[in-house]
Subunit: 339 residues, 4 copies
């Protein structure tokens, strides 16, 4: 049993903690929280040990009736690995503490690639993480790109990929973030995602552009892929359909938007309506000569969760074969092969 401590209990942290609890080869040491808010109560309610940043915080939490198990130092002593789920860029600061306790650590995609030995997406480079001390699971957008492109590369030689990332502006609970009625382009061109996906896939010809739109539920990517040779639309579809953690909507079933995809996740009984899979719109797949257009929805809150679980297994070399870890993770989370 690998003892896992999750440092952070926000959008990503709480999901990773829940996923760890579903693994029979891992145990959850607990989670760390900064603020004594309702999410802390949820940890208490579900019996998840709660750790805080200082002795003083223990008092603050307990005054509000929230039970605390100890400080982060206590958790780090007890765990085999820490999954850092701190806000963007805080991971780099946290790393120093993890080093002090000589613990393996997983970082999220908000950190620079240089923070870790490897940038990771299970289906692409699981083996690269075997036995590593520090692994970075790439961001939701990059994970989606990596999964999709990795599959496409299997069946045809890619010449170039150009993508537009239509990003959700805030997570559902983030009521202070906008815009309410605007489209906001990102001014770094290409957007960092293109560069980031190369940390996983290696040097491919990809460039991306990002815009932010007033929605909270999912990102949508529009990809244009040019191949060296003609490709067959059916082959592309079969390949993507067979791939793990990617699903294609059936045609003509009313799955016409990010909102209906989220509704599907709810109807599937997914916890927190999490859609771990990249969801490609079937009607939006089109091959014209050597060129593929496709669009897919990315559930920013959930998609990296199985990746974190696999990363843990790779780092402890529980399985040397990616398939075994992925299969186990997918089963535990109810991830679908097909709709």
């Amino acid at each position: 049993m690998i003892k896992v401590f999750v440092n952070g209990f926000g959008t990503i942290g709480k999901r990773i903690a829940a996923a760890v609890l579903k693994q029979d080869d891992m145990s959850l040491v607990g989670v760390a929280k900064k603020k004594p808010d309702f999410k802390a109560c949820i940890a208490n309610k579900f019996g998840i040990p709660l750790y805080v940043f200082s002795e003083k915080d223990i008092e603050v939490f307990e005054e509000k009736g929230i039970k605390v198990k100890g400080t982060i130092d206590d958790a780090l002593k007890e765990c085999d690995i820490v999954v850092d789920a701190a806000p963007k860029k805080v991971g780099m600061e946290n790393k120093k503490i993890y080093e002090k306790f000589d613990r393996k650590a997983i970082f999220q995609g908000g950190e620079k690639a240089s923070i870790a030995d490897v940038s990771f997406t299970a289906q692409v480079n699981y083996r690269a993480a075997l036995g590593k001390k520090y692994v970075r699971v790439v961001s939701c957008n990059t994970t989606a790109l990596a999964r999709i492109i990795n599959e496409i590369m299997r069946i045809a030689k890619i010449k170039r990929i150009r993508g537009t990332l239509v990003r959700r502006a805030a997570d559902p609970w983030e009521v202070k973030k906008g815009p309410i009625n605007a489209i906001v382009p990102a001014f770094s061109v290409p957007s960092h995602h293109a560069k980031d996906v190369k940390t996983v896939l290696g040097d491919i010809n990809i460039s991306t552009y990002a815009v932010v739109v007033p929605t909270t539920i999912m990102h949508m990517h529009v990809l244009n892929v040019e191949f060296e040779n003609n490709v067959n639309e059916g082959d592309i579809i079969s390949s993507l359909e067979d791939a793990r953690r990617i699903i294609i909507t059936p045609s003509d079933m009313g799955l016409d938007s990010t909102a209906t995809i989220m509704e599907l996740a709810r109807d599937l009984g997914r916890e927190r309506n999490d859609m771990y899979e990249v969801v490609i719109f079937r009607e939006g797949i089109k091959v014209i000569d050597k060129e593929l257009w496709l669009s897919y929805a990315v559930h920013q809150e959930a998609i990296v969760v199985p990746e974190n679980i696999d990363a843990i297994r790779a780092m402890f070399e529980v399985y040397k074969e990616p398939e075994k870890s992925i299969e186990k993770t997918d089963k535990s989370l109810g991830i679908l092969r097909r709709l």
Copy 2:
């Protein structure tokens, strides 16, 4: 075992079907669907028998690979009671069919009160539905009003209630409905909710005004209640805290909006993030002299679900005591007494 057929598998129908499956004194005959869309696949996936409107529809569904058990007539023959979850005003048409098969029926709040023998909210008038043939579960907004006012009436004599209903404009999956950036007042004054709540609570002095706003997740009501005599804020809070199907947020825990309430529902592990309880904002409760202000969030998709279950029990006189049915329903759905 009461054999229940749910006619409709949209926002409300699918939730009632799921709730029926959780009752040990009921069985689900199946659900009816009009369109062969992804929700039909979900029914198949979870082994919920699917009924359609005509023999011809059977073909249409099966061509798309969706298994169908029979037509609505077949289901009506088999069931003891039908829960009508058809779109607004279609229930009145459907009633004729239910009469033909001589089946008990529950209608939803989109129908006129005259469709049924009684308009129903379990905590208020469970006994009025005992043995009845036709019961109407009032709408989400009316249910919330009925629950809240019923509790307040227990502890103080109400002089008048004036409420503003800030309504969500569409359900999350309804991507064709707006507004995107506007506030739209309802032009029927008082709004129908005030009149409707009297079908449950009897003649009280209430008037309401409704506006529609660009959000999909919950309604919010702002109530101003004037009492005949001075009331104590603590008494009001205790009474509401003790009431079933009403919860009060803890203060200062970050539960500051409809979005964080929905996040709470997700964190609680609720299926489809359903919040069956009316959720009152603690910081927004204020008593000044003989007057109470409060605001609460209403999950339009979920709040009437337990009411439908209780209505079934009342109509078959499974329990004569409301408490027994409510207790059983609440346990089955994980409804909380307190956060």
Copy 3:
């Protein structure tokens, strides 16, 4: 000619500056800006002298090709009065500078009432501002309340007013502010607006509750007014129709939301689609016995602009009669008596 300096060139400042330019008894010394952004270019383009906060800022602006006339000190020396249009609470700091230069000053509603000798709404208490040194024009929400209640008070004795303020969350250009998909209640109950309107109207029985919704274009208020005696709906409507700076939509003309009101402002040819008038929805006016319900839209960006112009005239005693100033201001801005 009263020489007016507008300290700030944001949502409110730029509109007041534009309004000053339209008065034949005022001249615009210029406006002050903190950031060298596109609004500064607009000032240059329209020949509005630009002042900055320090000698160093002059360089910063000029490096970007923006012409600057001088510093705030220069402008204060030159002007007779300064209209403070700084962000909320900055006005209090600024007052010290205005005192140093011994200049009359107008503050906006984001400041505390105590900052000025009088809190002002032209139609209500113009005379109270005659000759005053410091005047505070109340906020958009308070101005709307003051105008409406003042008219209603003319024709009937008000017993109590209870209002729900459904507030826009951000101005159209504020792309960083949310929420995107939530209703956020204000937790100060009653909301400060009720208290604030008494600084203008004196001691009336009013209480308000505020919620914030995901829209950028206008606030909407829902008022419930109880009278001492029966009132006639026609009388209320006539009175409001005759009032200045209040218009009532014609019935059945498609003016059904804040969005269509803004469209009307555009169609009227209003600069920046400013709607200086409070706009009451005709279909939403209802008198039942001694009680009035009404809802109206408030253009948060524009409604206080004419008030600032009148405040200037009152402070210099240009006219002792409110009607003369209001008439002149309304004519200059194209404010309508009726649609």
Copy 4:
């Protein structure tokens, strides 16, 4: 004086009518309206003759106090040309009437290209419309594409263009249209825009993909252009800067979104805050080797207005030179060469 009748007084029609009024070589016969709503009152208010569809409609309008000049037949008799501004696809029906009266007609981009002799964008193919009887001004999205690509083609040989069109979901006043919180992909791939732009530009290698997002104010396009040879970013920028009806935002001036572009239009004093120019984000322009990325905002309500005016002149051969007509139109509407 060319006598122009505008059939329709909605989003596009009312703007074209206003633009016609500003031309010294045209007169406005009037506009036609179907519904007696506030826009009809606006026509009355500004003295724009109003025509209706039948004798019966005259009564309907006049009962509501709206003055009507006559029926569409009357207007067609009187005019030299009709600008059809009817809803999508209604133009085809209307054409029969225009033929009956033997009138020249302009159609909008919602109609099929085959409705007219030429599909038109002034800067691209003004001459093709000289003396023509029927001209179709392409849609807002196509107009923007045509303007931009036409300029880029001037300075470098284009190999291929791939674009993602992030479309606003509704016009500001359309409160019934959604989505409120979703991204909705268009399922026709390539989207019709790519095909449509070829009706203006001829056969170029272009493909586009469209998604709809919850905003009302502007579209945003993201274009990726591949050239045959290396191009210089400075050359691209100069060329676009020099082009008419295209403006580039200055860097670092806070113009960071569609919302700030609309704010700029308001600050510029534009009627109805119309932005006739395509607005390219300077910070989002990037050339990498033979490839250009750029994004720009398209004001869907306004961008085709000057095109309609130029089309009228071309059809009557007022000027044979496009530059003369464009210059005149731009001056009349206050269209900028640069910010």
